[in-house]
């Protein structure tokens, strides 16, 4: 078997924009290019982080991999099998192996279901377990895996009786019950309190080791990504602009956008009150309907030169072993920033 469990090749998702009468008559079409040609490979058993600001297409990518959306172009290969286009039977089979944890634990569960029903619903859909007893046994096992013990105590509760952290555990249990090999976690801890956030991440890590799971961890939070993932890819306006091991990308970022993201993260260290922090970036993220010419980051980049917008968009290439970047001038920028520090 190949080293990679999931391979994504030139994946695209363009959403059409409603046209005005004039545009309709002229035959013009406009698109929101939410995901605009991304490629990455996820190794068996690793946690891969997809990072970016809101609107960069990270959630759309997650949905494409979950097959909740049909891609406009590109290919998704799961366990050496092309899953880009599937019929409904194959899709059901695929979804047993690929599961998702959603961001909002308050909205992702039916409030009228007891936890036992929340957990057994996937079993009904996938026709697992013949008797009720068997199903409950599986549910109890899943609850134990996410450390909601004793399981009997939680089985008959409703979601509103649980805290945010506990709900997110139930959501994790619901994905684990089908024993998937790949889990897409879309901001699983962003709505959970800080004190339980770490606990939840640790539980997810443990489950990963015990069950040999592979995660796609989608987040805007670099700090938890560093803690949770092995490799990360940074997205900007539908493209991956930097990819590499989490430590490498965060400690030695090459792309100016990644550098700006890192500079913007606040840190719990004293003595920063008086400082106006410089974030090396201009303006705000443009609309995905009007993607700038050339390098799509150039209007916000402090280092942009005419070559950045005149020439074609830079492709992702391996700048250092295992560390990919989509910036033509990363070497000069690197020198620049070193000089600044020395000067």
């Amino acid at each position: 078997m190949s080293e990679f469990i999931l391979e994504v090749e030139n994946l695209k998702k363009w959403f059409p924009i409603k046209r005005s009468l004039g545009e309709l008559l002229r035959g013009q079409r406009r698109w929101v290019r939410a995901v605009d040609g991304i490629s990455f490979k996820i190794k068996q058993g690793e946690a891969f982080g997809l990072i970016g600001e809101s609107g960069c297409g990270k959630t759309t990518t997650g949905k494409l991999i979950m097959k909740l959306l049909e891609p406009t172009d590109g290919q998704i290969v799961f366990k050496e099998k092309d899953v880009t286009c599937l019929n409904s039977e194959e899709l059901q089979e695929y979804r047993r192996g690929v599961q998702m944890i959603f961001q909002d634990p308050y909205a992702s569960m039916n409030p009228r279901f007891r936890i036992r029903e929340v957990l057994s619903e996937p079993l009904y859909i996938h026709k697992i377990g013949t008797t009720e007893k068997e199903k409950m046994k599986l549910a109890a096992k899943a609850l134990q895996e996410v450390k909601l013990t004793p399981p009997e105590e939680f089985m008959d509760r409703y979601p509103h009786m649980l805290s945010g952290g506990q709900r997110q555990r139930v959501a994790t249990a619901r994905t684990l019950i089908l024993s998937p090999s790949f889990v897409v976690a879309d901001e699983p801890v962003s709505m959970v309190d800080l004190s339980t956030r770490a606990e939840l991440l640790q539980m997810m890590k443990e489950v990963q080791h015990v069950l040999g799971l592979t995660y796609l961890y989608i987040t805007h939070d670099l700090s938890t990504a560093r803690y949770f993932t092995d490799r990360i890819a940074v997205m900007y306006l539908g493209k991956i602009i930097e990819m590499g091991s989490a430590d490498e990308v965060i400690d030695h970022a090459l792309h100016p956008y990644t550098k700006a993201l890192i500079a913007a993260v606040p840190e719990p260290v004293s003595g920063k009150v008086g400082i106006i922090k410089e974030v090396p970036i201009k303006g705000e993220i443009p609309s995905a309907a009007e993607i700038p010419q050339g390098c799509r980051f150039h209007p916000r980049c402090l280092y942009a030169k005419p070559e950045c917008w005149d020439q074609e968009e830079p492709e992702l290439f391996e700048a250092e072993p295992g560390h990919f970047v989509a910036c033509r001038r990363y070497k000069e920028i690197k020198k620049d920033s070193i000089n600044e520090k020395v000067g």
Partner: protein, 322 residues
């Protein structure tokens, strides 16, 4: 003299299930030009405290005790009319959580901002507009946004508009409730910079409410940690984040649970259990069921906020035993 002094403030919610002690016996002070950070988990009473400072508790909440002294005058004794005309937005204003939801989608920005100013000041329309433009410039927006509707603006722009609206009656104290939570990191850093600049330019005092210890470290001169409606610890930025570290076990554990960007940690600490139900808070110290350093005394007797060093007060038996 202190600009704002809060003494033994109590705000209880009278629900059908019983009394929830949202803010229970909270005292602190805020000096001129100072930023006080209020940190805590959800449900610890930090937003409730913010609404209490404007004397506008959300029903079924009621302020049942304490004093809020603004330059020596107790604002809890004022009538609703006086509060509206003299205190809210004139002296103390608030930036509510989630800027996206504060603006009405059916009015353009000009109308929304004009409404505030015209309620408070008898001003010619032209003069009012001049003033609005001045404050828009101050928060880094162009006048162009005035004719736009909220859905045409980004989250960061909306947050700037809400901040401008909170400022243009020239209050001296601004309460910011999670002003950066829904924003992206880059925009968050920009808003934090903006607040710092405004503080300098207009000599404002801020009360900065958030659940995030990291942002607090960048904005607050002093930090107040709340747990289950009570104050656990108040200290200066240096005392809480400095090398010596915070004194209360809760603060220490929160700090350990905060992931750091520039350090690789293999096991992040966490606080076992969940915050207590405020309908029936635990006896003694409210943190004792989750505290690893719990003693017999913690279960029975409630610790009072006590000064352990100048400007640093803690409510923990451990801290003044040894």
């Amino acid at each position: 003299m202190d600009k704002l002094e809060v003494k033994n403030l109590k705000l209880y919610y009278y629900t059908s299930k019983g009394v929830i002690r949202g803010v229970d016996d909270v005292s602190f002070s805020l000096g001129p030009g100072e930023t006080l950070g209020v940190v805590g988990e959800s449900g610890c009473g930090k937003t409730t405290l913010g609404t209490a400072l404007l004397n506008m508790p959300t029903p079924p909440g009621k302020i049942v005790g304490g004093e809020i002294l603004l330059d020596g005058e107790d604002i809890l004794k004022l009538t609703e009319n006086d509060l509206r005309k003299k205190i809210r937005w004139e002296k103390i204003s608030m930036v509510f959580q989630g800027a996206m939801n504060c603006l009405t989608p059916v009015y353009n920005i000009r109308k929304q901002m004009m409404e505030t100013i015209q309620f408070h000041r008898e001003m010619e329309k032209k003069e009012a507009e001049e003033r609005i433009k001045k404050y828009l410039n101050l928060v880094g927006l162009s006048e162009d946004v005035l004719r736009r509707y909220p859905h045409e603006l980004s989250g960061g722009m909306k947050q700037r508009i809400v901040i401008a609206t909170a400022l243009f009656l020239e209050p001296k104290i601004v309460i910011c409730d999670e002003p950066t939570t829904a924003l992206d990191v880059v925009v968050q850093a920009q808003i934090i910079n903006l607040l710092k600049e405004l503080k300098e330019k207009l000599n404002l005092s801020f009360i900065f409410i958030t659940h995030d210890l990291s942002t607090e470290a960048e904005v607050a001169d002093r930090i107040m940690i709340m747990y289950a409606g009570k104050v656990a610890e108040i200290g200066t930025n240096q005392q809480i984040y400095g090398p010596q570290g915070a004194a209360h076990p809760y603060t220490q554990m929160l700090m350990a649970a905060t992931p750091r960007l520039h350090q690789r940690v293999d096991n992040l600490a966490f606080i076992p259990g969940t915050p207590p139900d405020l309908l029936s808070p635990p006896s003694g110290c409210r943190f004792h069921p989750r505290c690893p350093q719990v003693m017999e005394r913690c279960r029975i007797e409630e610790p009072r906020l006590t000064e352990i060093e100048p400007a640093h007060t803690v409510a923990c038996w451990r801290c003044f035993h040894e």
